[in-house]
Amino acid sequence: MSLHALMFGWEYPPRHLGGLGVACQGLVRGLVNRDVKVTLVLPFAADGSEDQIDTLCPQEHHIRNIRVASLLLPYDSPELYLQRIGSIPRETAQIYGEDLGHAVHVFTETSIDVTKHLQPDIVHAHDWMTYEAGVRSARHHGKPLVTHIHATELDRTHFHPNEWIYGRERWAFEQADHVIAVSHYTKNILVQHYGISPDKISVVHNGSNDVLHTRPAQQQESASHGKKHPMVLFLGRLAIQKGPLHFLEMASMVHRHNPDVQFVVAGDGHMLPSLVQQTIKLGLQDCIVFAGKVSHTEARKLFAQASCFVMPSLSEPFGLVALEAIANGAPVILSKQSGASEVIGHAFKVDFWDTEKMADCVLTILREAPLASQLTAEAPRVLQRLTWENQADKIVSIYENLLHT
């Protein structure tokens, strides 16, 4: 009989804002392809999401989405939360804490209730919002608990955590029979800052949904070289974690050296107004475009046009966007403080704070055609290895180890 995993998730495409939804989908599909029966519990009634899922991946009729009413918005809640507590006094922030706590409580109670009758072999929970549900469900069923960490509170807040969320994360890691981290970078945070034993944590890098999209030859040529205006791309939520300010700082240095370079900042988020302000302050208004939130197709176009893609995240547990960038033929410069930099070999890697070096790497890629061409050609090879099926295999063996010990 195949394994049955009861999963608690928070978002699922097309209703997703961050990597959590994408990773969750990839993982579920990978597991289903590996004959694991998955029951996925989500907090929201995502309109049309099911149709979308079905059309995207027919095997997903194996997945039973059980929806629980929740006051919480998907993934962006911690960030909105952060934005709110960032702008209000500490005492008042408690109110939001209670508010969010209540919402998580509702999700926990109801999701436990609707899954009581199931007979899973293993319980698997994604990120802190679902951890209490996971812990209680595992207790109820008397089965091992896996907590999967896609982003810690420390990543989102640049190490200025909300103590309540941090506490719940740590509690869940302690309760879990095993923890899956999306990178060694994240594993290290759990060991260093959460006091979790390294023996209990396995690293399973995210997989890639992207197959290699070969650039049309003509486009490839014009992308980085011989073009009048080379373009350097940022794509991500405009939140402190993603390092958009560092991108602007880098842009300003590149601009000083080569005024022809154009910059595109794609994505939205609460930092947009301050970023626009900073752009003007740096005198970059004529060479930076704020593209807003872009669709998947638009993103692919941007990657294909970009002379290089920069991911300057301050703390990035993985960074799926980097895989999308290389799949679409963009040479990449990655923050060393990221999980993606562990798996992408053919890239420049710099500390997020070293914007001077970041600028230097950008300018080198723009100047050296053979370099850009080699990065473009070689980087995507990793995608062949980093499939969700391969990553699901690793998770299945973690399940099996837990069940047989």
Partner: protein
């Protein structure tokens, strides 16, 4: 008679590049491309762990055992670094030279890939190296060993025309085809293009070409048993005892067992606590007991010719080139003829591929190599010694090796030793250095200014 033991050690240190920035290009007063702190630190570390203790041991072994002899190839950039960072190391090599039992081989001064890029530059760098060895050690090398044992038929002929009597090469299985690496070989005889022969004649380090050139082949299994596998606990031969190793040396027979390896094997690649020094200390004693002798590369070749002459019965001092004698020899039934080592394409001692892919296996390596050699005529035209020297330091093969991405996909990033984060970081620094060099070229006479602009 048991085979001779021919020990040759490679000693080399590159000038690693510092974290150059694009904003510095064309601005600095000097060509300050190299990471002096790092280079000094590496040199001193290796000096303490390898050069100094290994040289002390070698000196005592040379004094104690009459039949012990060794050969070194000290790259010119290594000798330059000795002057900068380690006069003590240089002196310890000079002490070894004074024993008269150490042979110094010739190589390209800058440990470069010029043999496959630029024949004139290759001759010049080899000449520079010979002069330096003469100055420092009072001897003249007669056997050549190329950077990373890069070798081909064409190179062998080039080196013969330069006046060398011997050259070292990797004994690769596909070229040996079951034959022993323990015999000297000769390259196939053919003429190089006339222009190239003339070029070599104009730039060769010696007055005369050599009539014959012998190829000594590295016995890679036995060499690598020491250099790579000595401390490998998963290896069936572990732990390797000097007695066992000596049995293996004798097992293959032949004229000489050629053990070629990096000198850093002693104390750096194989740490002292692996027992590598003890192993080395024990060997000459066992060899003496078993009547085995060491021979340096030129001695191996000399003794081979003597043996050959004795067998063929020709006067060793005759004026006829050996090649022709050999032809005569073949006519005489039962006489041995010199076996031919036919390296039609280029081989080396690097990686499992034993080819050039470690230095010119990807786009950035090819681009960097082409770029540095394209600058040659312009750099030389300036006549500026400082500029020429810096340009040559940028030819050191290690720069290109650090850009290798052969195994970069497997996450097996440690397979390649590099002082930099990645092959791309290596290329970033290197391309900045070259860009700065180009800027400097523009500052020479207005006439060359124009020419350079046009050419670049």
């Amino acid at each position: 008679m048991p085979p001779r033991i021919c020990l040759y050690f490679q000693v080399h240190q590159p000038y690693r590049l510092r974290d150059l920035r694009i904003t510095e290009i064309g601005k600095g007063k000097t060509m300050n491309y190299f990471d002096h702190d790092k280079n000094r630190a590496v040199f001193r570390k290796v000096a303490e762990k390898c050069y100094l203790p290994a040289n002390r041991l070698m000196l005592s072994l040379l004094k104690q055992y009459p039949d012990f002899a060794i050969a070194y190839s000290l790259s010119g950039v290594f000798l330059d670094q000795c002057e900068e960072y380690g006069q003590d190391v240089l002196e310890s090599f000079q002490l070894l030279a004074k024993t008269g039992k150490v042979e110094f081989l010739a190589e390209t001064y800058y440990h470069s890939l010029s043999s496959i890029q630029d024949t004139e530059e290759f001759c010049e760098q080899t000449t520079l190296h010979i002069r330096r060895i003469q100055d420092l050690f009072g001897v003249t090398p007669t056997v050549f060993r190329n950077t990373e044992l890069i070798y081909s038929n064409e190179l062998a002929q080039t080196v013969r025309l330069m006046g060398f009597k011997g050259i070292l090469a990797e004994g690769t299985d596909h070229l040996l085809q079951g034959r022993s690496a323990n015999l000297p070989y000769i390259p196939p005889q053919f003429r190089l293009p006339h222009g190239k022969e003339m070029l070599i004649a104009r730039h060769r380090p010696f007055e005369k070409r050599s009539q014959n050139i012998a190829v000594l082949l590295k016995n890679y299994r036995l060499s690598d048993d020491v250099a790579f596998r000595f401390s490998d606990k998963s290896w069936v031969g572990f732990p390797l005892k000097a007695e066992t190793f000596t049995d293996w040396l004798l097992g293959g027979g032949g004229h000489s067992v050629n053990l070629f390896m990096d000198y850093e094997t002693f104390g750096e690649h194989q740490w002292e606590d692996t027992g590598i020094f003890e192993f080395l200390r024990t060997l000459p004693n066992i060899w003496q007991e078993r009547g085995m002798k060491c021979a340096t590369p030129s001695q191996v070749i000399e003794q081979w010719y003597e043996k050959y002459r004795a067998e063929v019965g020709l006067c060793p001092t005759g004026g006829t080139p050996l090649r022709e004698r050999m032809v005569h020899g073949r006519k005489t039934a039962g006489l041995p003829s010199m076996p031919i080592y036919d390296a039609h394409s280029v081989i080396s001692w690097a990686d499992t591929e034993r080819d050039l892919s470690a230095w010119q296996g990807n786009q950035i390596q090819m681009s960097a190599l082409r770029a540095v050699h394209d600058l040659g005529p312009l750099v030389k035209a300036t006549g500026n010694a400082d500029l020429i020297r810096t340009w040559r330091k940028l030819q050191t093969s290690d720069h290109f090796y650090y850009m290798c991405t052969k195994y970069w996909n497997d996450g097996d990033v440690h397979k390649y030793f590099s002082p930099y984060d990645s092959p791309y970081e290596a290329y970033r620094r290197y391309s900045h250095a070259l860009c700065d060099l180009k800027e400097r070229l523009k500052q020479f006479s207005p006439r060359s200014h124009k020419a350079v602009r046009h050419k670049l």
